[in-house]
Symmetry: D2
Subunit: 337 residues, 4 copies
């Protein structure tokens, strides 16, 4: 951490800051320049009250040098993480495909979709039972009933399953039925939920918040890991920008940044990122090309009658075709699909 | 709602869409142009599956005309809402000042701050007992102990109190101690929390999400209102943009937009919006000038030792001075302070 | 400037960086920490090739401490700048009102508007003769003919005048007819135009780019000042964000930031920022309340027939009313209007 | 175009709007709903004053249905455009590689880089002679001298060349020396420059503005095409967002959107988009995978001594390796490299 003093800071101001840091058991290096004085801080910054230092009138800015996340940090865990979800793996050797409907609607629908996505090559069945919807008057999901259908579909097809959870209560139910928990974009900084999810020890998919920085995202993963679950995958699903041609702006450079900063696997969701069916295939290929460990793709037996997010869902035929076209990209990337 | 068909949509495609809408009990108006055909939809859109229509291949776009929120909508409730919080009011006649520390630290600290902000003219004491922090290793608040101190401070000074809640569990505790609940920016779309908060019937302050649109924000208010609490105030606290000179970008035009769309009162928080102490006064004045019903301002007895958000907190002297400078603006705006 | 070395940088890497800096005639301060080594750079950074240092594999990041703009910098010119535009002044004692139509249409129209805005209290007549329009098929302005009308209106009413220039050719014409040149948002980083404008020595209004940071904006002002014109005013006109309720997001905190970093006057344009007539008055008041030195407000004799930007233009009656309501705010701010 | 009337609009208001449209020679379709009245407009909208209609008090909003660009529009030109640049082609059959230094520094440097990039497979040499720099005190390019070096390098190696132009004056010089003109991000809406560039008839690369929407970008292309040059390629180079881990956020979904809306070729520049050398290869692969017609990649003989943008430049060895790794992706995409 570096503390940049204001240009008009007096010697006494600097002394005061230095004392504050050294009293907390850390060391300092002074660099007195013609324009400004800089105080370098050496040691364990968790012992230090950074906001209090930034609050001093004599301080211009505080520049962090090291990251606040540790368990998720590649520096302390250089090898990429791989973990099992039921009988499949997420990690550097595979291209994991998570597919299914946005919302679970009926048992028949889910079984029918599960068989289709399995046949095409997916290994994890996704399906929403708790839907965070902008309006209180929109369909909010089948809740526990939907989870039961997920279990039935898993039992019948052998697919692993993943469901979004939106409250401590939903976590409690979900652990009984599904293989992996998902934290959605709107809850990425619902820290109480992150802790609940972490306590289950189940694998977790953490979607990026609508306007979360990569560092905030990794700190959210740290919440889950510090609570118990070490098996966290990060899911890029588009960020909010001024551009309205796509629902969100898919940030594929985030895949590259994550690969440098963390050992956790990275999944890309081109369906939610764009909200447009025809963009799913090209961006799925792009995601694989730049290093993603998996894809989340929405599939529906009848997109025009889907209860949620129809416009971006693929039909079975479309999904088959996308999977076929992705295979050579997975091969190029050295991943099993 | 207007449905714009694709340029190459066939007559049959249009017939299919029209049938779908009329089967749901709504009426349509066709407008067949040289370039495109437009289907106007008339009637109660909650009966209609909008996503399913947007998912049709023949549809170019769906343009919403009316808002999805009703209880929060000015159209159905043209008079501005005013409501009591303990012995004070939030509404068009007052300029409500909510002040206090970012985080409650000790009973002495809180009492000392409560007395100071009361003397300067604040009527609601703010103080965080549950702190949503980016890193799991940062101070997370005193929880129920902090709430108890809030109650003591309220009992002694007569001030109303407000506390952020971050989980169903926190809501359960908070109702025993404070006058008003706050939902923070990171939880604005934590819909389960919104429902819990709404069920208490207490007045609620709903902060705008980091990158929430005004319509998403009003829909979040609708969640609370539909669950029970009609007394919701909206708090603009800056949105996330590319500009880094301030922590967030305070969106004062949102105050104007809200005054057109909703009857709910609007509070502005210049402390969190900017993160810079010296910008609090000018932006507080600006907020009053453009129609805000209140201000949330952080005050601390010793900002340089605050456990959270010191850089933006005002000292007692600074707060006294800000209050004195705001009074003529409140008077110009026809509000009691 | 501070250079943060990568954690795995060798001693030799540091030595190489230090040598590079000292060879350029600057001094360094080393701060060797447990985690990272930091090189502080002292002296005139314009002698140094910063990009080349950032390009070294051993360097993690380069943190600028001092600003790259000098003429526009408050540090070297602490007193607020005030300058004459024809027979009026822009500076800390006045609230300058620049009003008129978005686009000059006819001589009669302009004269009629000029008389109306003068009567209401404006001192500078604005009017576009060169219009930067998104589509090549939209009305592009009357060009030199429009400038002539501006001169006529100025001669008749005594108002100073301001016109946007969009090319070296337009600058050449404009100097013959108007009192002040305007550089529009889309040309804020058209550096060749900035130089041309600076060479005229005329007062200049520099609008903020659609997504320009405050530092980029001040560097753009520096281009003008380094080319000759010292009399630059900065105009906040909204930035581009994800929010679509207003055309742009008016960033009033920028007024506060500018007042700390520069001595140049700051004008606020609520008309272009919001694109909505009814938001002009409340945001104009807010701008005055937080320290703006002036306002730019669009006025049109017949907004519903304006050739450009009608929706945000005020009628004469509306403008009279806005001016009347702003007066007490100007008085509170200690400014003559 | 659809005009949505305000809920409280009177019959007379609607009649007035309809008359206005029909007087301009267009037809209307009325759709009178329970909530709102909608006026559909049929015919050539360029005859209509859209802003004037939006300015009417009775109008809630105007929704455009058809695009304002025609020459760039895929609807009127469904086949993808292919065009020659010296002895190479940009279009659907090739993967065009444009490589070279950010800024031209010396003749030797440029020749050395030209030979290296040619050997690795590039067909167009890029090199800046006019550099738009944020600060007036940064290196601004060799200007005409740099253009001469580009010509020499082209003559010697046979490579086509591309140079950014920043003013009418630079255009005049550049046409004498280079094969293709580039308009940079900061000048994307410098409409006077777009017209000058269009008049030359040379092929043009139009970079996306820092925060330009895709429609604004296509309208900028329309300016060039309407002025004469039909051979325009669009270059995605990252947009400005809140995320700071990369210099800009590369928007690869824009490639998909452009492929639907325009017949013009699309180039992707991962070097400027990210500003980080190690992200160039993965994002170059991703760009090819999602349909890009070419790549612009910065290469420098000695990045640590580059006069501009060193941190993102590749060395010759790195560029050779990137090219080798991209080849199988070009092959998969059915493109010659």
């Amino acid at each position: 951490m570096i503390i940049v003093m204001k240009q008009d800071a007096a010697k006494d101001d600097v002394t005061k800051i230095v004392a504050k840091i050294e009293n907390a058991g850390l060391k300092t290096h002074l660099s007195v320049g013609e324009e400004v004085t800089i105080v370098g801080v050496i040691g364990d910054k968790t012992k230090l009250d950074v906001d209090a230092i930034a609050a001093e009138n004599s301080v211009q800015k505080v520049v962090p040098i090291t990251e606040s996340y540790k368990l998720a940090n590649k520096k302390f865990h250089p090898e990429p993480t791989s973990f099992a979800v039921k009988n499949t793996f997420i990690g550097p050797d595979n291209l994991t495909i998570m597919s299914g409907p946005c919302a679970v609607e009926t048992e028949e629908q889910l079984l029918c979709i599960a068989r289709a996505v399995k046949k095409a090559g997916a290994t994890i069945l996704r399906g929403g039972a708790y839907k965070p919807r902008t309006s209180p008057y929109s369909f909010q999901g089948l809740e526990e009933e939907g989870l039961r259908y997920m279990k039935t579909a898993s039992d019948e097809t052998g697919l692993a399953t993943i469901c979004e959870v939106t409250s401590a209560h939903a976590v409690e139910s979900a652990v009984k039925y599904v293989s992996m928990l998902q934290v959605g974009a709107r809850n990425m900084q619902n820290f109480e939920l992150l802790k609940e999810v972490g306590k289950t020890g189940l694998p977790v998919l953490l979607k990026r918040g609508l306007s979360a920085t990569i560092d905030e995202w990794l700190n959210a993963a740290e919440y889950i890991m510090a609570s118990g679950s070490q098996n966290v995958a990060l899911c890029e699903r588009g960020i909010r920008t001024y551009e309205t041609s796509t629902r969100n702006t898919l940030d594929l450079s985030a895949v590259c940044v994550l690969k440098e900063r963390t050992h956790l696997p990275v999944i890309v969701d081109p369906s939610h990122a764009t909200g447009v069916r025809s963009y799913v295939e090209p961006l799925a290929k792009a995601a694989v090309a730049c290093g993603a460990d998996g894809l989340m793709i929405e599939v529906h037996n009848d997109p025009a009658h889907a209860l949620s997010d129809g416009p971006q869902s693929l039909t079975f035929e479309q999904f088959d075709s996308v999977m076929e076209h992705i295979r050579p990209y997975a091969k190029l990337a050295g991943r099993t699909l």
